[in-house]
Amino acid sequence: MPPDLDPPPPDLTGFGDESEWIAAAQAGDRSAFARVVNAYWDRLYRWLYHLTRDRHRAEDLTQETFMKALAAMKSFRAGSNFRAWLFRIGHNNFVNLKRAERKNTQPANDEPPAADTAAGPMTTAADREALEKVAKAIQELPTDFRMALMLKAEEGMNYREIAAVLKTTEETARWRVFKARQKLAKVLSPDLYPDADDEGERPA
């Protein structure tokens, strides 16, 4: 099994040691909690947007996650992984939302992929085309695969962290990322996988 080489999470707050801010937030310092929100909002929201494909639902879930985190800060164990803890809350909220939607038979309205406002003038036509392909293909992925892949790709989480967020095993997290990448790679470059068996070999 290849070693997980990912680096540890970076300092996210930009204000020094993240653990100090989290400790202050746990002690009730609202300004410290606001800094944590400021540091994590966009990242959590991006992930939830990829899961919901709906801006308003993603914003609701993000806000709900921080509200729950605010209420539960005291229960966070100092020294453990705050990012995984926070994303775990977000994951639970997402699962609850899907459950409620199934119950009400009211699925989220899938939005078309957002316009690529981040693409600068240097973005080539080929890049834009590839981005569109990936954006479309990722919507076709099973949610579990999408969750794991985006935690890996956008957050740079290692498989242990992904497993903690998704409450699964490290091996399953690795498998989901692998399968998601495999599916997207085939869409992006079908000529590189002419005869590939869809299931492939489970990576060692």
Partner: protein
């Protein structure tokens, strides 16, 4: 190592730019697998650039609400941490140190289940100008954060929580009265359900937990009277509006009126010590 094995391992790597030692010999001699590796790297780069609509306005509203809610934090200077070597004073908060979090936490958690549902399900402006949409949403958010903060920071005892939850019911009733002409049935029903939850699982539930002897008769009377007044107002307003509301909102308003009436009657019995 076959190409299939090599490719699968490449796609399973934590970082495709850093192949493991056992892959290097194969990659060195196989141009096709090097192309797969390059595509895997490209894919990861593309994933990081996937477009996502901005959420800045919502984040700012949340931060504002957080800033505006609850009691002012009192800070005091502390000796800088030797770990960081920073010379700057850091704020240390004292306001929550007095709180029995184990006690308050349950209330907060329960409140969140309610409050977040409210935010989720409350009518959201659709297709309106951003400025028009942002104002009522941020007002709702500010109220929700305030209630949550109140429950976490100041409402330690059941009688205090009765007050917070009663104010929350007033918020919800106000919301229903504000939007009943334009909201669709689903949104109004959601509001009515949330109102019912806050009354039954908030106001009434906390009122039941007020222990005898913890309040003077005058204090006890005031707690119950204030909460009953909020519910009576809701009963009156919702009943009146239910008669003139569009069909979409009629049932929901009637439900709010019924809930308020039931809650008020239960509180009256509790106040008299009959339950």
């Amino acid at each position: 190592m076959t190409c299939d094995v090599a490719r699968n391992r490449l796609l399973a790597l934590p970082d495709p730019t850093r192949p493991t030692d056992d892959l290097l010999p194969h990659l060195g001699g196989c141009a096709a697998c090097r192309a797969v590796q390059a595509e895997a790297v490209r894919l990861d780069a593309l994933l990081k650039r996937l477009p996502v609509p901005s959420s800045e306005a919502r984040k700012a509203a949340f931060l504002n609400a957080l800033d505006a809610a609850g009691p002012v934090i009192r800070t005091r200077p502390v000796v800088p941490s030797s770990l960081t070597g920073s010379g700057a004073f850091k704020p240390v908060v004292s306001w929550l140190k007095r709180i029995d979090w184990k006690y308050a936490g349950g209330g907060v958690a329960a409140c969140l289940v309610l409050g977040i549902g409210i935010w989720f399900l409350a009518p959201k402006p659709k297709g309106t100008e951003p400025e028009q949409a942002a104002r009522p949403k941020s007002e709702r958010l500010a109220r929700m954060v305030k209630r949550t903060t109140d429950l976490a920071t100041t409402a330690h005892a059941p009688h205090q929580r009765v007050g917070v939850f009663a104010e929350w019911t007033a918020d919800l009733k106000g919301e229903a009265c504000d939007v009943y002409k334009v909201a669709d049935r689903e949104d109004m029903n959601a509001l009515a359900s949330q109102y019912e939850k806050v009354v039954s699982e908030g106001v009434v539930s906390q009122a039941r937990q007020i222990e005898a002897g913890t309040l003077t008769p005058g204090e006890r009377s005031r707690v119950f009277t204030d909460a009953m007044k909020q519910l009576a107002d809701a009963e009156t307003d919702a009943s009146r509006l239910a008669g003139e509301a569009p069909p979409n909102a009629r049932d929901a308003l009637a439900k709010i009126a019924r809930t308020a009436q039931d809650g008020r009657r239960t509180l009256a019995k509790l106040a008299e010590g009959k339950q």
